[in-house]
Symmetry: C2
């Protein structure tokens, strides 16, 4: 088999491991915790459905956004999932994930390795308009799931509305509808006591 | 909450169920069977990695392809997964899935409901260049997983190389590299006795 193709296959097989990285939040039917691969799929779908709400959509590149969402969590294969409210885990998160990104994407042939490492870094930095939109989608998704379920991952950790707003500040730079939605979901969650 | 947004949220919550639709094939580490949501994510990734092999890529629209892959299996939420080698299950597959598609996509606001139903139908028909590429990716993915694992979903059903080639004929219309890869993977699988 041609080496380039073998490298791509090795990468695809290694990324299979994302299906066994378990996140904190539960599915909407409370049956089990979500894995990161299915979370990535769901975020890719939401990015499409909510795209109309991006006030700056004429400057955005939805394909580029989807590429970012597809790969942004692959680092968890080596670095694990870090609970967004885990402030200790967050101290060295970038170092751990950057090392994981270099290790994983280097399985790809040179030009693709560079392309996908750059996509990961862009999402991580949350600076470009595309990255801000992608992050907004990625972060509103678990809020939706926690609101319209028993909210177990919030309840078990005594998460407060204040913590949610503090960790999801980036949504203020994203689509207004999504920022407003965050407030609406927090209100519903408080009423249901999914949030303190 | 605005009705349009509420409809979109209802759709997103309903699609969460795809994470509990279980396919036949196992993950590459043989730990468990794959669910359809994580399969969709992995196919979206593969569609990007293999795009360079599409001889007709200048006619293709990768964003459109990814949108198709994102939603093409959502019908399984109501219709269940049909094993590709299950010839009886295949007899009424289109009717069951078409009804499921109409039920599910109608949760979305009008214009999005139409757009996503059309995407599903296009993938289903396997006629357009975009659909042929999307199908090729979707179908080579489990062959890869079955080859580079114990191949349990093939072994338990005594699947033969002839059955694989017969059900995956569409790959002949897709990128040559992917068609050739199918032959290489079948050869490896025969040697490992994952295929009869
Ligand atoms: Ca994420």
């Amino acid at each position: 088999m041609e080496e380039r193709l073998q490298q791509q296959i090795n990468f695809i097989l290694e990324t299979d491991k994302l299906k066994n990285v378990i996140r904190r939040n539960f599915l909407s039917d409370d049956s089990r915790r979500e894995n990161t691969a299915e979370h990535s799929w769901h975020s890719i779908l939401l990015a499409q459905i909510f795209f109309e709400y991006a006030e700056n959509k004429s400057e955005l590149d939805l394909l580029h956004i989807i590429k970012m969402i597809t790969v942004h969590d692959l680092v968890e294969i080596y670095a694990g999932d870090t609970f967004i409210f885990d402030e200790t885990g967050y101290e060295d998160k970038f170092e751990r994930e950057n090392a994981a990104a270099k290790k994983l994407f280097s399985l790809l042939p040179g030009n693709q390795a560079e392309e996908y490492y750059a996509l990961w870094l862009e999402f991580e930095r949350e600076e470009t308009p595309d990255a801000i939109y992608a992050c907004s989608i990625d972060k509103i998704m678990p809020v939706m799931l926690n609101t319209y379920s028993k909210g177990t991952s919030w309840r078990e950790a005594n998460i407060t509305s204040e913590q949610v707003f503090r960790t999801l500040k980036v949504l203020e730079k994203g689509p207004t509808t999504v920022w407003n939605l965050l407030h609406q979901l927090v209100k519903i969650s408080e009423k249901k006591q999914n949030l303190m």
